[in-house]
Symmetry: C2
Subunit: 211 residues, 2 copies
């Protein structure tokens, strides 16, 4: 059994645990600073009194992101990878066994900031989200295709900055369509809240379908 086979086996175990508890789970990936934590914070601030969340924060070291989430009083686990540039299924399995799974409807797992390796390691969540910020440029779908292909949802974040940067939206959307036609694109700003309701409505729809 090589490292990928072992990881896949454990990811299947994680999937089974979350399915038994009827939990909707997301693996949130993206470059360093793309806005993964900001996105989670905004979602919690809008839905925390109607949906029960659980958060798993994945970072190389420290607990800066977990501390940002603490103010929302949701169950949260911080994973430190000790240098590894991505989360794997084993890390997630250990984390979720420390969450009150019977009191959670939706789990967000924030992966390590990296546009490459996290795409190669299934961790057992139901959906993958790629948070991509316009400030990274409009050509990265072609340069880093795998993470877009494995994501069911692509959040194009920081659209509040569109007027200040050169970003060819048509080029980006065409590239995404070519590289991963089934990925659902939502353009928003996690900071200003612009278009954020599109994501909130979509999340609620996914949750209804689950129940």
């Amino acid at each position: 059994e090589n490292i990928f086979e072992e990881n896949e086996r454990i990811a299947t175990e994680v999937r089974k645990i979350l399915k038994e508890k009827n939990i909707l789970s997301f693996n949130i990936m993206g470059s360093p600073g793309s806005g993964k934590t900001e996105f989670i914070e905004k979602t919690l601030s809008l839905l925390n009194n109607e949906i029960r969340f659980g958060i798993v924060e994945g970072d190389i070291e420290g607990k800066i992101d977990a501390e940002r989430i603490e103010k929302y009083n949701v169950p949260i686990i911080q994973i430190n990878t000790g240098g590894s540039c991505h989360l794997d299924a084993n890390m997630l399995k250990r984390a979720i066994l420390n969450l009150p799974l019977d009191e959670i409807d939706i789990i967000f797992v924030e992966n390590v900031g990296n546009l490459v390796c996290p795409a190669e390691f299934e961790i057992g969540t139901e959906k993958n989200i790629i948070i991509y910020s316009i400030t990274e440029g409009d050509d990265k779908v072609i340069k880093y295709p795998l993470i877009f292909r494995v994501s069911q949802i692509c959040i194009l974040n920081k659209i509040d900055l569109l007027q200040y940067v050169e970003f060819n939206m048509e080029k980006f959307e065409n590239n995404l369509k070519n590289i991963s036609p089934s990925t659902f694109l939502i353009k928003l700003s996690a900071k200003s809240g612009e278009n954020f309701q599109i994501w909130i409505d979509y999340l609620k729809k996914l949750k209804r379908e689950k129940n």
Copy 2:
């Protein structure tokens, strides 16, 4: 011999080749979209008629960045890592053996966009540069410390956007001082050219010291 020992052995060979040719070499690292290529382009546009450059472009696939550099008519090699999230010394050794080393004063090696793994693999260049953009946030030095520690130079890029984003410059500079006191910080914009002369003067100084 494990993978790091083998890599270190080959990095030493690369260092020896570049030293014999009296070439000043830089490993340019940073997140996807931090502005590594923009930085190289700006430097070439200002110095290409007085310094002889050679460029090695490292990407997972494709040759988008190499094509941006072609207009400067400098010797350039594109490395495709085939999925690996970082360059290693062996890849660079093969690339430089295809460059006209007798006609080059300075080599820029652009690494794969990643704030984690490139920091762990010496490739044999003389200096490491981390290109960090303000749009990534002011807390990433603490979250991704290794790449800052291994870099002699930190370019804080995209300062033309400072008025549009929340970026605590004092916090960033203090973090950098704490994590890596010897790293030389230059704040500039590769796009607008603001403060770019500080880097140009520094590069010329490094070249003079080499000769």
